[in-house]
Homo-oligomer: 363 residues x 2
């Protein structure tokens, strides 16, 4: 994307920093760095001042690669963690920041890495740290047209992966082989990465997070396929069910009910709606059909650069360092259908990625 | 593995907890849970007392799956994060722990999740938290025979993946497609997951962490392929170079030098040797040939359930919440060759997984 896009994002970022009382942020989460600079990578950081000056620190090996990909004002390379810390201190000096507040990603940094970034060699003594998770989440919440285009491409790739997975579903193949087919097809069609690919079968369809195993598909098995390809830096989320042979009538009925509940919820996903109302619509339809005890967890989460991001389910947000989300805006992108219907011996789940619009619009 | 294996691990764990003054640990890192119980999964926890009593909490959907896979004394299901917190409090009560010290994985938990586990609703007021990262790392450091067998299987699968990748290296295919071939072959041969698969080409071989992109291979490109399949819960680490066409003589010379340095280092990887000595051997051989400025980072790291685990490089351990490692014991497993040789326009890296033995033994 053109430099203008990043300048616009940085302007918005600076306004949020001002409101939150931050003088500078030090970001190390690749998704956040990617949003503001066009490049996010491991073992690197982006530093942004309230005035919008943007500095990057990356492994010295990566300097040329970053120069080619990222938008920034300053760039420095380092050799190791000690060099990383010192380069951050150097930027504090260069920006003339001796007092004030630095925003750090509390929901991303485990204690030793938090310790690195707040080490006396990394930041001036007069600078105190504050969580910037809510700022970055708010910033990334409403998607630009280019982001929605990327997610539509990701959704297309997900469809191609799903077709390959469904074709691979046969008696005797393993769950892992079904994923292999899906991921292979998605890479051939432009995916460069995947957030967790779930494939579970038979009794394992009752499991909430069905990472694939070497279990072989049996006659009559349901198969749950939940994929998240990354295309142009953005993800889609798609879950579909298959069956080895013919599903039992109660399985078919549960699936049909689930799809109906999903479609009713998608139909309501317009601007101004509360997440809780969509949750009630989805859960309500399942509960009304006698499945109150078969639902696990909230049915909706945001999606974008990450396959699970803001808006987070109101009941979960607190545990991820965020406040409950406001009513949905147009061009927020959400995945609907995550709650599943788990009966014990088997489960069903169908999930789609949806752009919130005046009338709700499935991608 | 049989229950005996887990009982032995738990006995050792309890001794380390006693030495460290911990009364109980609450683990949520899947690798640590897997080591002690045979099952590690997302959104779950294992609680172990100093007396060796082991309790699990998992999503209620996963109860049967966990019953089939894990070794434990107590098992409970929960519906959400609030239920998770309350179930932990319930176990504290059941174990009669009102005072004392709870070990938590400080190097794994970002602040909101740390906040969950230290919330007044999760643990008694009289219980204080302490980092248990060093305990779990020490526990997992020396591998059992069964673990080494699993890693040899993983290494075999890595070889199959590497062969598929090398076959895929052709003018015009993307880095992502090369990874696709490797991962597809590895899944067909028994891998259920991968830690980061790196494939970089041309100028991108100079990048430290070369995640694949849509860059198309050009005539004369070097290609760096670094793969980490997970088989039976354990990983291997293998990196090899390829070339589209014939490498330039200085590329071939750098590669041959690197392999020599690697082999000299592997030959020294016996019990009693210090990590720093192995680092000096590897770095020294590259430096002596004039590549002092082309090395990035330490050449060695431990490997096991995770593709990077203890023993960590002495210079990095601090930043991961650990002390510098003691001299290597027999049956510690390490990956050697991670430092790379990055010249600017291109780089080379070759890496192998090695079981530390009396004489060093490559797997």
């Amino acid at each position: 994307m053109a430099n203008d896009f990043y300048q616009e994002r940085i302007r918005r970022c600076c306004r949020l920093m001002e409101t939150a009382g931050l003088d500078v942020m030090v970001l190390t989460k690749p998704a956040n760095m990617f949003y503001l600079t066009g490049d996010g990578r491991l073992c690197a950081y982006a530093m942004i001042t309230r005035e919008g000056e943007l500095a990057l620190g990356v492994p010295s090996t990566d300097l040329e690669d970053v120069r080619r990909l990222a938008h920034f004002d300053h760039l420095t390379g380092f050799e190791d963690e000690v060099g990383m810390i010192h380069s951050i201190a150097h930027y504090f000096e260069r920006f003339g920041i001796r007092q004030g507040v630095v925003g750090l990603e509390y929901a991303f940094l485990p204690q030793p890495r938090m310790g690195m970034l707040t080490h006396p060699h990394a930041k001036p003594e007069g600078v105190v740290a504050k969580d910037c998770t809510p700022i970055m989440s708010e910033l990334r919440l409403v998607k630009y047209e280019g982001e929605i285009e990327a997610m539509k491409k990701a959704a297309q790739v997900a469809v191609q992966g799903m077709e390959a997975a469904l074709e691979a579903v046969t008696y005797g193949v393993t769950e892992s082989q079904v994923v292999a087919a899906a991921e292979y097809a998605m890479r051939l069609n432009g995916a460069v990465d995947f957030y967790r690919s779930y494939v579970s079968s038979g009794p394992r369809t009752n499991v909430a997070h069905g990472l694939p195993t070497l279990r072989k598909l049996q006659e009559g098995d349901l198969v749950m396929i939940d994929i998240h390809p990354v295309v142009d830096g953005y993800s889609a989320d798609m879950c579909r069910m298959a069956c080895v042979g013919t599903p039992a009538s109660e399985q078919q009925a549960a699936h049909d009910l689930y799809v109906e509940a999903l479609e009713a919820t998608i139909a309501k996903a317009g601007a101004g709606v509360e997440m809780t109302e969509l949750e009630r619509t989805m859960h309500g339809a399942l509960e009304a059909a006698g499945h109150k005890d078969h639902i696990f967890g909230p049915p909706i989460h945001g999606i974008g650069i990450e396959f699970e991001e803001s808006p987070l389910p109101p009941g979960h947000a607190f545990f991820h360092g965020e406040a409950a989300p406001p009513p949905l805006d147009a061009n927020v992108v959400i995945a609907i259908g995550n709650c599943g219907l788990y009966t014990g011996p088997w489960g069903v789940r169908v999930e789609d990625t949806v752009v919130v619009g005046p009338t709700g619009q499935s991608s």
